[in-house]
């Protein structure tokens, strides 16, 4: 049986090596895709991730609030801080225009006298509190709201992507407001109750201004901000692995049309052995594809001035996930090859379905920027299971345990496709 399997593997390898179109689909196409897509997307990813979110800041306050917010923004790696346009300090109108033109993703305007307003509110609050007559009901919140900070957002920017950023900005700004209120408040209190000056101030110092939440919480030492390379290399590798469905299904169809299957059915060799031979060869092809794409990410993209691919720490995890993806892709090819009626059908069914599954799976556009509905649909694509597994390994420093569920889903997918193929074969028999 082993010698039969080896002969089948040899035959399949020779067939593949002589199929120049198939080979270029398998190896050349994904490499080109990685290069092109990464170069195209690099600019977009770069503005957000390398330099940070471009922010235009207009400080008309020139007091504590404006200065503290400016400091907070300047010290954050996730934003690229600007307070001037074309060399001159920006005005609110200019900032508005620049954001509308897409030169900045976010604009922030601190109005004149904002700090004063806060102080006044607090002073008023303290005075009213000290004034023991309970005729006035004071709402602390409404007092602070009189300071209006304008947040402008590029309308073209992906909403879901900016949602977290703006909510963090809101949080941060109100934190600063509170800090100033607290300071003023403690000063006022100190004026009334002497000797108590130090305590509230230092107590406040301990609570740090909240930084922006990172989109990827990396567990490894080195924090990795997602960039075009980290997304595109695994994404297009998975795409390429699934694209083997086309040469694989056409090889199955050809074998039927060229009569080899007829002959093989009369031989003392089960058809499954033949399919197994194919699976072995195409799984190996997938592994080679993976290594090739990986080397593109590690060596070739940096040559073009793009960031280098970061692999994370779990090589075992990478191996298991790649194997699982390879089996899922191969099973898919076998299924397409059995479902299709002709080679032509196999090619169309194969390529269209993979394009669809990859678009849904977040290969073209990462699923985290998709709208909620699509993000939910996305989790049904096997390409998405694989991609989210690679994200866990490459971006979050995850290990075997983190990708096990994804790998198992892919293996289950393989088993399901094989079952469908074998049932289809039985149904399709004309005798």
């Amino acid at each position: 049986m082993i010698s039969k399997l080896i002969a089948t593997i040899k035959k399949e390898t020779l067939l593949l090596l002589r199929d120049k179109v198939g080979l270029s689909i398998l190896f050349l196409m994904p490499m080109i895709l990685i290069f092109v897509m990464t170069l195209i997307q690099d600019a977009a990813f770069k503005t957000i991730n390398e330099k940070g979110i471009p922010i235009i800041f207009v400080n008309n306050d020139h007091d504590s609030l404006g200065i503290m917010i400016e400091q907070g923004l300047r010290n954050n790696d996730l934003c690229s801080f600007n307070d001037s346009i074309d060399g001159k300090p920006a005005t609110a109108e200019q900032a508005h225009k620049a954001v509308a033109e897409g030169r900045f993703l976010v604009g922030i305007v601190i109005p004149k006298g904002a700090t004063d307003a806060i102080r006044r509110n607090v002073t008023q609050l303290v005075e009213e509190t000290m004034d023991t007559s309970d005729s006035t009901v004071v709402q602390a919140g409404s007092a602070a709201d009189s300071v209006e900070i304008t947040l402008m957002i590029d309308p073209v920017a992906k909403k879901s992507f900016l949602n977290s950023v703006t909510s963090n900005l809101h949080e941060f700004i109100s934190e600063v407001k509170t800090k100033i209120m607290f300071q003023t408040f403690s000063e006022q209190i100190a004026a009334v109750i002497p000797g108590k000056t130090e305590t509230p101030k230092s107590a406040y110092q301990k609570s740090q201004i909240i930084r922006y939440k990172e989109i990827y919480a990396s567990r490894s030492e080195e924090k990795i901000v997602p960039n075009a390379v980290q997304h595109n290399v695994p994404a297009w590798t998975i795409f390429a692995m699934f694209f083997i469905a086309i040469p694989l299904s056409s090889s199955i169809m050809k074998e039927k049309n060229e009569g080899s299957v007829f002959r093989l059915h009369t031989m003392p060799t089960p058809y499954l052995l033949l399919i197994n031979g194919k699976i072995v060869v195409y799984v190996i092809v997938c592994m080679i594809q993976f290594l090739l794409m990986l080397s593109v990410g590690l060596y070739f993209l940096p040559m073009l001035g793009l960031p280098k691919l970061v692999l994370g720490s779990s090589y075992m995890g990478i191996f298991i996930l790649t194997m699982a993806t390879a089996f899922a892709a191969t099973g898919y090819g076998v299924m397409v090859g059995t479902l299709a009626g002709t080679e032509h059908q196999a090619a169309i069914l194969g390529s269209l379905s993979i394009l669809l599954l990859s678009a849904l799976g977040g290969i073209w556009v990462p699923s985290y920027v998709m709208p909620e509905v699509m993000r939910n649909i996305s989790t049904w694509s096997p390409l998405n299971w694989s991609l989210s597994g690679f994200y866990k390994l490459f971006l979050r420093g995850g290990g075997m345990a983190d990708i096990l569920a994804d790998a198992l889903k892919l293996v289950a997918f393989f088993i399901a496709t094989m079952a469908i193929a074998s049932i289809t074969n039985r149904i399709k028999r004309t005798y």
């Binding site: 002969a7 067939l15 009569g259 059915h265 003392p268 028999r429």
Partner: protein, 267 residues
């Protein structure tokens, strides 16, 4: 006259006392394909004797390929049964497949593999390995004049060369029973004679051959016995000489054939 090289053969009518050992017993064989209105094979009864060359003749669509396909285990019949060496075919399929060889009507080879690679692969599928397989391949390539071109992809071959490789792929494992579905169609006279000569030799070495053809003259000289079928039914059977003798005004098998199957065109 017929088959001078064939020594032990006894024509049917003169062998009433001699027990011919039967290798294939076909009993009421029937096959109706899915979605087909008419049965392709409709109650065939035949005994094929050990070591004979049996011709299955009939017009297009008569049911020859269907019968052969059932006999070599490609699909089960929808009625009747087949005994090979007294064993039920369907129940002993795996062991029977090992002793059966088939040369299909349509070329069944990988076009992008060379002749040698094709033969190595099919040889392995029949369980041959190593030197034995290599030797047999070289032996047959030489016999059929393909040694020179054996390392060329089959797609570059002429029709006749493909037929010859197609033939070798079915006989490498020295089957006890060999099914030949139109092995010489589209082959020039030179190749045809070489092929027929070698097939006769294989038969002399102990292989029973079941053969189909539209070439009546070839069948007349090659087969010990023939059966003419049409619409999935047997019209007649016997040695070519017997059939010619029993048909008024016929002096060759072709006339017998036309007499029985009429001149109407088939699909």
């Amino acid at each position: 006259m017929i088959n001078p090289g064939y020594k032990n053969y006894q024509p049917l009518n003169s062998s009433a006392t001699m027990a011919q050992s039967t290798i294939i017993e076909i009993i009421n064989l029937a096959k109706t394909f899915k979605h087909a209105a008419e049965p392709a094979v409709n109650g065939i009864n035949l005994s094929i004797y050990r070591n004979e060359i049996f011709g299955l003749l009939g017009p297009n669509g008569a049911g020859k390929t269907t019968t052969i396909s059932i006999l070599c285990g490609l699909f089960p019949p929808s009625g009747g049964k087949v005994l090979i060496d007294s064993q039920d075919l369907q129940q002993h399929l795996p062991s029977i497949k090992k002793i059966v060889g088939i040369v299909p009507q349509d070329i069944a080879l990988y076009p992008t593999l060379t002749a040698r690679e094709n033969l190595e692969f099919y040889g392995h599928m029949y369980g041959l390995t190593g030197k034995l397989l290599k030797d047999r391949i070289e032996e047959w390539l030489k016999k059929l004049g393909l040694t020179e071109s054996a390392n060329r992809q089959v797609t570059t071959y002429s029709g006749g060369m493909k037929r010859r490789v197609n033939l070798i792929a079915g006989i490498l494992h020295k089957p006890k029973i060999l099914f030949l579905d139109e092995p010489t169609v589209g082959v020039d006279v030179q190749s045809r004679n070489v092929i027929i000569e070698h097939l006769k030799k294989i038969n002399e070495e102990g292989t029973t051959i079941i053969y189909t053809s539209h070439h009546m003259e070839e069948a007349e000289h090659f087969c010990h016995r023939v059966s003419i079928i049409d619409h999935g039914k047997i019209l007649t059977r016997g040695t070519p000489a017997e059939l010619i003798e029993n048909t008024p005004g016929a002096d060759n098998l072709e006339k017998v054939f036309l007499h029985l199957t009429k001149r109407k065109l088939r699909d």
